[in-house]
């Protein structure tokens, strides 16, 4: 703790310990605790207490208060917890008999304030932080705290109950880990005293008739098995498996979700991975007897496991596939399609009942589809999913959603009625349809997938969110297929698909709904980005009206759409035929007027658009163009960069400026690379003369583009990210341009190594430059202003970039967020509370 804080701390403690003084809001206390957490990480807690006796006095003082506020008491409990995490500090406070008064029976437990959730929460948190050593464990066991925690497991506050449960997990794992000096004897386990209290409590809770107690205990066990993989967990399971099996067999629905979590947490632990473990028997029983939603969760978890008995795995797969199997069969005649599962093995009555009920059908399908989607993305899949029939079932769900599927049974009719227009299921099905692209081939796509995707893209009933998912799924398939080796046949078929797709896209680009226009543009941008090298794709796109419609959207009233149109145009302009196809328009005199080039249009947006998104989009397009060597940029790169930087320099949006800096960075790297200055380790050493020429050449280019004026200006910018980015670019340029040799060559004796300057000096210099038009010889710049390449070099050498970089790397509110600031604020707030009572926006 620094001196200033140490001075401020006593009055602050006096304020906090005074019940007449109200502390404005809880964020003060939270931040105060944060500070002490950080302090105790680096300093000895005992030393802190000894050096700052006001802290112990504060604890004592609050304990003596007749009527402390609940927030102050909660704060003190947590603060004490932080200190007592250190054993020496624990002893120190214990000797002063403070701990019993805080965490023992004499403490808040017996006061009226215990009714306040914040006090109970503070108590639990305090105890949790404290429990880092055996002394704390002994203390808790002796002062009756364990029983309090048991009670708090059922607290009406979710936060307190959950914290109490976490605390018990911590106590159990901590006491067993530190106790376990020798391996646990499975048959005759000599548990530490804490565990001896906890385990019977768990057993009793699991056997109780209270659903919430059972749930809390199962949660606790789930956490224990999840975070600890020691041998003793096996002993614990052997002790508790009996009541858990009882629950599974007798209360499968009430405790179902918690049992699923427990089994999965155990299944992930190496301790239980052996196929003979009783866990698998329970899991198998659960798969059979839990309700389909619960069994679905368990199945998905089991199928992700690397170690699992194959029989359980296959059972899990059947459970997960069953709803999809029912859907598939509901839309196809018997014998027409074999289905996903063997009929003799599956009992589908329950699933059919759920699917025929409006409220459960959508939930079950969404959940199943989501689980299956996760499995499709797994790189390692221990069982083979029946991809083709599964895909068929997903397509069937989507067909039901638009009324395209013909029901083949009464269940089919019911599902059809439920799924028509059910966006939730449509979204989930489209998500998984996209995931199939990783697995399936072109022929599959050209079959039912492309049809259903087009149906969704075309349908006027498709909601904006469903349409977005349709675009995403289509994109995934098209990108995936473009990466696969293609045959002529493929392209012939795909060409027709693209024609249909672009027709739909044209329509969507004219939608009255901005969300749809925007999603269509985003889709187009990504599609062109990935497929622009494919000649067939390019031809169909260029011959369509899509580019024209996209260009029109550069003037959309919605700024999000304008920005997306800019990005789309940025990609479209890479298609070389497109530029030659820029349409001409007729003016009033019937004469054809060549429309502006895309570069000019985008530059205009950069200058005139009142919203930040389109301007930011333009900059990002320009960066891509410069990086990828766009033909329009290559014509006159210097002119292009110079004009963009000039515009960006005046932009009020710092993100546009930051984009401009990135452009400057790309440009400088390209220039240095082109002249041969870029630091490449494999380039042979060049002579000093060549280097000087290269240096000079690049400096001249930067000078013409006014790169440094822009960078120095940005360095003075009040927006931190702009200054920070400018600083890092300047440091990189300095390293390239101002090495020792060039430094000596470029400067006369009297100007060598001037003193490092800061921002104020730079601002002054820039003002002088801008006020003086005539260039001056080097060395006179400091007096008369103006600039030339050498002046720039001088500034670059003179300015203290490293120092600036260091300060810019800190957040700009580090002073307001400092502990001094916090302590000052606490002191200043005292007495002003009535005046500025709690308010909001």
């Amino acid at each position: 703790m620094d001196r200033e804080c140490a001075q401020l701390l006593p009055p602050v403690c006096a304020v906090l310990g005074d019940s007449r003084q109200l502390v404005a809001d809880d964020t003060f206390l939270e931040k105060f605790l944060d500070w002490f957490k950080t302090l105790t990480e680096t300093e000895s807690s005992l030393h802190l207490l000894q050096e700052n006796p006001c802290l112990t006095e504060l604890i004592t003082c609050v304990l003596k208060l007749k009527d402390p506020s609940s927030s102050t008491l909660s704060f003190i409990l947590r603060l004490t917890g932080i200190f007592t995490a250190s054993e020496s500090c624990f002893q120190y406070l214990q000797q002063r008999e403070l701990l019993n008064s805080l965490f023992g029976e004499e403490g808040p437990l017996s006061s009226a304030l215990w009714e306040e959730a914040s006090v109970r929460s503070g108590w639990v948190q305090g105890v949790h932080t404290m429990t880092q050593h055996q002394s704390a464990i002994h203390f808790l066991c002796n002062c009756g705290a364990i029983d309090v925690i048991f009670t708090l497991q059922g607290d009406p506050s979710l936060f307190v109950a959950s914290a109490a449960n976490r605390l018990l997990v911590h106590i159990l794992t901590f006491s067993l880990q530190s106790f376990q000096t020798k391996p646990v004897n499975i048959k005759d386990c000599d548990w530490p005293i804490c565990a001896q209290k906890l385990i019977p409590h768990l057993e009793e809770s699991l056997k109780s008739s209270s659903a919430s107690r059972i749930k809390q205990s199962l949660k606790l066990l789930t956490s224990v098995f999840g975070c600890c993989h020691d041998l003793w967990t096996e002993v614990l399971w052997s002790q508790l498996s009996e009541p858990i099996t009882y629950l599974l067999e007798n209360e499968p629905f009430n405790a179902g979700n918690s049992l699923v979590d427990l089994f999965l947490s155990m299944a992930r632990s190496p301790v239980f991975s052996c196929p003979e473990c009783s866990l698998w028997k329970s899991a198998s029983y659960a798969l059979e007897h839990l309700n389909p939603a619960q069994a679905g969760c368990l199945s998905a978890g089991i199928l992700k496991l690397q170690e699992c008995p194959q029989a359980v795995r296959m059972q899990a797969l059947s459970v997960l596939l069953q709803p999809m199997d029912c859907v598939l069969k509901a839309a196809s005649q018997p014998l027409e399609y074999p289905g996903l599962l063997n009929n003799s093995l599956s009992d589908s009555a329950t699933i059919e009942t759920l699917l025929s009920c409006r409220s459960s059908c959508a939930s079950l399908l969404c959940q199943t589809l989501a689980h299956l989607e996760e499995l499709l993305y797994l790189t390692y899949m221990p069982v083979n999913l029946p991809h083709i029939p599964l895909l068929k079932s997903v397509v069937t769900v989507l067909q039901f959603g638009t009324g395209l599927a013909t029901p083949a049974s009464s269940l089919g009719s019911k599902i059809s009625r439920i799924l028509i227009g059910c966006f939730r299921v449509q979204r989930s099905a489209l998500d998984i349809l996209g995931a199939f692209s990783h697995w399936e081939s072109h022929s599959v796509f050209m079959g039912s997938v492309s049809d259903i995707l087009l149906a969704y893209l075309k349908s006027p009933d498709t909601s904006p969110t469903v349409l977005k998912k349709s675009f995403q799924a289509t994109l995934k398939w098209l990108v995936r297929l473009s990466e696969a080796p293609s045959s002529r046949d493929y392209w012939l078929q795909t060409e027709q698909f693209f024609r249909d797709l672009f027709l739909v896209l044209q329509k969507r680009l004219c939608s009255h709904c901005w969300e749809i226009r925007d999603s269509a543009l985003e889709f187009l941008t990504l599609l062109v980005k990935h497929l622009r090298e494919k000649e067939e794709f390019r031809q169909v796109l260029v011959s369509s009206e899509v580019p024209k419609f996209t260009e029109d959207l550069l003037e959309d009233p919605e700024s999000y759409v304008r920005a997306s149109a800019v990005l789309a145009m940025g990609q479209l302009s890479f298609l070389t035929h497109l530029n030659s196809k820029i349409p001409s328009t007729e003016n009033g005199n019937g004469k054809e007027v060549k429309k502006k080039s895309i570069v000019a249009q985008l530059q205009e947006i950069l200058v005139t658009d009142s919203e930040g998104f389109p301007r930011r989009a333009v900059i990002s397009v320009f960066i891509d163009w410069l990086r990828d060597g766009h033909t329009d940029v290559l014509k006159d790169t210097e002119q292009f960069v110079s004009s963009v930087l000039q515009v960006v320099n005046c932009d009020l949006d710092w993100e546009v400026k930051a984009g401009g800096l990135e452009l400057a960075e790309v440009f400088s790297a390209k220039t240095l690379g082109r002249v041969g200055l870029a630091g490449c380790p494999y380039v042979s050493v060049v002579s000093a003369a060549t280097r000087s020429t290269q240096l000079n050449e690049s400096l001249q280019i930067f000078y013409r583009v006014k790169l440094f004026e822009f960078l120095f200006g940005a360095l003075c910018d009040c927006d931190r990210p702009v200054a920070q980015k400018a600083c890092s670019i300047l440091i990189a340029l300095k390293a390239e341009l101002c090495d020792e040799n060039s430094l000596k060559e470029g400067l006369s004796a009297e100007h060598s190594f001037p003193e490092a300057h800061g921002i104020a000096w730079l601002e002054k210099t820039l003002r002088r430059w801008s006020s003086c038009a005539e260039p001056c010889p080097i060395g006179i710049a400091n007096e008369a202003g103006s600039q030339n390449p050498n002046d720039i070099l001088l500034v670059l050498r003179t300015i203290d970039l490293e120092g600036l970089n260091k300060s810019l790397n800190r957040s700009s509110d580090h002073i307001e967020n400092s502990p001094q600031s916090l302590l000052q604020d606490i002191l200043a707030t005292v007495g002003t509370l009535e005046e500025n009572e709690a308010d909001c926006y």
Binding site: A24, K31, V160, C366, G612, E655, Y841
Partner: protein, 600 residues
């Protein structure tokens, strides 16, 4: 017993970030998804892990509803939908959908700019989140799914703010969000119909306050600005881009016009146009006066308020500047403050709340020497004023809303515990309803009486209307018939139809009651006495003495028999059908009282 459960994840006994989970008839709805501006880490967002532990977020939640565009109500939304992974529907009004992304973007820029945070939502995430939003109109009933419906009501407070009614079957909850029961210069007062929800979840920021007259506050504000400008000083008003800023702009514009003042008023560049655009677009959401005058003059096209340029801050002479952000923690407002703080002629007026760690908070708590970067000390000589212009209902307004909506119970959020406690007692006393105030993480459960919808047969309905009862949805009416429960549906039909449908024969059930009467006279004399007695009392009923000696009162039959053991006691058998249960019981009780003594 059906129940409604409410668990605040934020705004439970605090004014931090609003986020309330409501579970109603098996549907789960999240009301608001706000952010706490006082934290820079994960604590700024509600702890969503309490929802995710119930399985997949999108499967668990049926929808999210956002009441208005303030960040303490919508600031965590992009995080929730794009980073935590909620993929379901989000509902808000049209103005909120339009303005929300502007404020989120503004906040994102400041957060990333100021603190260099990288683990924060991006522009793309804000856009993707907004694409999931379904915009709703006022009073439009929106069907979220087959069972769940929502409806928005006007809440005042800020442009587009709405209260939402959430209904599943016959159970309903109204969530007020932030609201204002008194109209201001550009917005109207909150309004809701007598929807009698099972639960009203109301904000309670000013639970114990009866706010002083707004006119006084406005006068005070104008006086301070005027005095400063008159003595050549500059006035800085840090504001959030949209919201109260427009109210203050209208106030100053009108004052400048009236007083013919010349000092320039500026508003942060870019935001005036944006604000103008949205206020024009959503003119129907403003108050009546603004709407009326809109045809001649748009109140948001200001004559005296101009766009601000950075360079103007150095101009000599008086001026008034509205600059963002509102807490003086970054950007333009902080820059201007630094320039003007040293001059005692200048003034800064803070029109809203500031969190700890901001310059706004420091100066409001009276700190006059502020440490700036590089150990520089900024001495604040300018005058610092705090004037709350936040538009919340005060205690009177909250009571007024409860009176309007007539809820069966009330739950208070978005306020301080002590103040809530006071208001809770007041509500319980005045309205005789239960009032709850759960802390964050605490679940309030209330049981509701279920209403089961029943179809009525046309025949029965026609019969009822034939006797002059025109169905009126607002006036509940008792119907008699036979309830048939079949195939998960309930139907009320006439008894005849029920018999026909079910193929049953009709049996009539009569109730007979024996009434002992002490009367030594002969039977027929006693019957005559009974007849006269009833005839005298039941003037509006048809009372007949039948030839067989019995008496008929409407359909009730009264016969006399002699008590074999005791000749002085006669027994009257009163017999009625189920339909006449009421009259039968009445007659029985009447006769049990005995006959009046005969006058001889």
């Amino acid at each position: 017993m059906p129940e409604i459960k409410v668990t605040p994840l934020g705004a439970g006994q605090d004014v931090g970030r609003s986020c309330i989970l409501v579970s109603i008839a098996g549907k789960n709805v999240m009301l608001d998804c706000g952010m706490h501006m006082g934290y820079n880490d994960d604590r700024r967002f509600p702890d969503f892990s309490y929802i995710t532990q119930n399985g997949r977020l999108t499967d668990f939640l049926d929808c999210v509803i956002i009441s208005h565009f303030h960040l303490d109500h919508c600031g965590a939304l992009p995080y929730f939908s794009e980073m935590v992974g909620y993929d379901g529907p989000i509902y808000m009004t049209h103005p909120t959908k339009a303005i929300c992304p502007i404020l989120l973007e503004d906040y994102r820029k400041i957060t990333v700019d100021k603190k260099g945070e990288t683990n924060f939502f991006t522009s793309q995430m804000i856009k993707d989140c907004m694409k999931k939003v379904v915009a709703v109109h006022l009073h439009q009933t929106v069907q979220v799914d087959d069972e769940l419906e929502i409806k928005a009501y006007y809440a005042g407070h800020v442009l587009g703010a709405a209260m939402f009614q959430i209904r599943v079957g016959s159970e309903s909850v109204v969530y007020t969000g932030d609201y204002n029961m008194t109209p201001d210069r550009h917005l109207g007062a909150a309004w809701i119909d007598k929807c009698r929800p099972d639960l009203l979840i109301s904000e309670s920021t000013y639970a114990t306050t009866i706010r002083d007259s707004k006119r006084c506050r406005e006068r005070d504000f104008l006086k301070k600005v005027h005095e400063t400008v008159e003595r050549g000083g500059k006035v800085l008003i840090p504001v959030f881009a949209l919201g109260r800023a427009q109210e203050l702009c209208i106030l100053l514009e009108t004052f400048w016009e009236r007083m013919n003042l010349k000092a320039p008023i500026y508003f942060s560049m870019g935001l005036t146009e944006k604000a103008n655009h949205y206020y024009k677009l959503f003119i129907t959401w403003t108050n009546q006066k603004i709407r009326k005058t809109f045809v001649q003059r748009n109140m948001f096209e200001f004559k005296h308020i101009k766009a601000f340029d950075r360079a103007f801050a150095d101009n000599p002479g008086p001026m008034v500047v509205f600059a963002t952000p509102g807490m003086l923690h970054a950007g333009q407002s902080l820059q201007i403050f630094r320039k003007w703080a040293g001059n005692e002629k200048n003034m800064v007026i803070m029109p809203g709340y500031c969190v700890q760690g901001t310059v706004g908070h420091k100066i409001l708590s009276g700190q006059r020497k502020l440490e700036m970067e590089g150990r520089q000390i900024l001495e604040v000589k300018m005058q610092v004023e705090y004037m709350s212009f936040s538009a919340h209902a005060d205690a009177k307004g909250i009571m007024q809303l409860i009176r309007q909506a007539e809820p069966r119970s009330v739950l208070l959020v978005h306020g301080e515990a002590k103040k809530m406690e006071f208001l809770k007692q007041k509500i319980e006393q005045e309205f005789h309803v239960n009032c709850y105030m759960p802390a964050n993480g605490e679940t309030t459960t209330l049981f509701t009486s279920p209403n089961i919808p029943v179809d009525i047969s046309l025949g029965l309905l026609k019969r009822e209307t034939a006797i002059g009862l025109v169905p009126d949805s607002k006036k509940p009416k008792l119907m008699h018939g036979t309830l048939i429960m079949k195939d998960n549906s309930f139907r009320l039909v006439s008894p005849e139809q029920a018999l026909k449908e079910l193929g049953l024969g009709e049996h009539q059930l009569r109730f007979t009651c024996r009434v002992h009467i002490q009367d030594p006279r002969k039977e027929h004399e006693m019957v005559l006495r009974v007849y006269n007695h009833l005839k005298g009392i039941l003037k509006d009923y048809s009372v007949q003495h039948l030839p067989d000696g019995s008496i008929m009162v409407e359909s009730i039959l009264i016969q006399a028999t002699a008590q074999s053991e005791d000749q002085g006691t006669k027994v009257l058998l009163v017999s009625w059908t189920y339909q006449d249960e009421e009259l039968g019981s009445y007659l029985t009780s009447l006769l049990k009282k005995g006959l009046p003594p005969t006058t001889t």
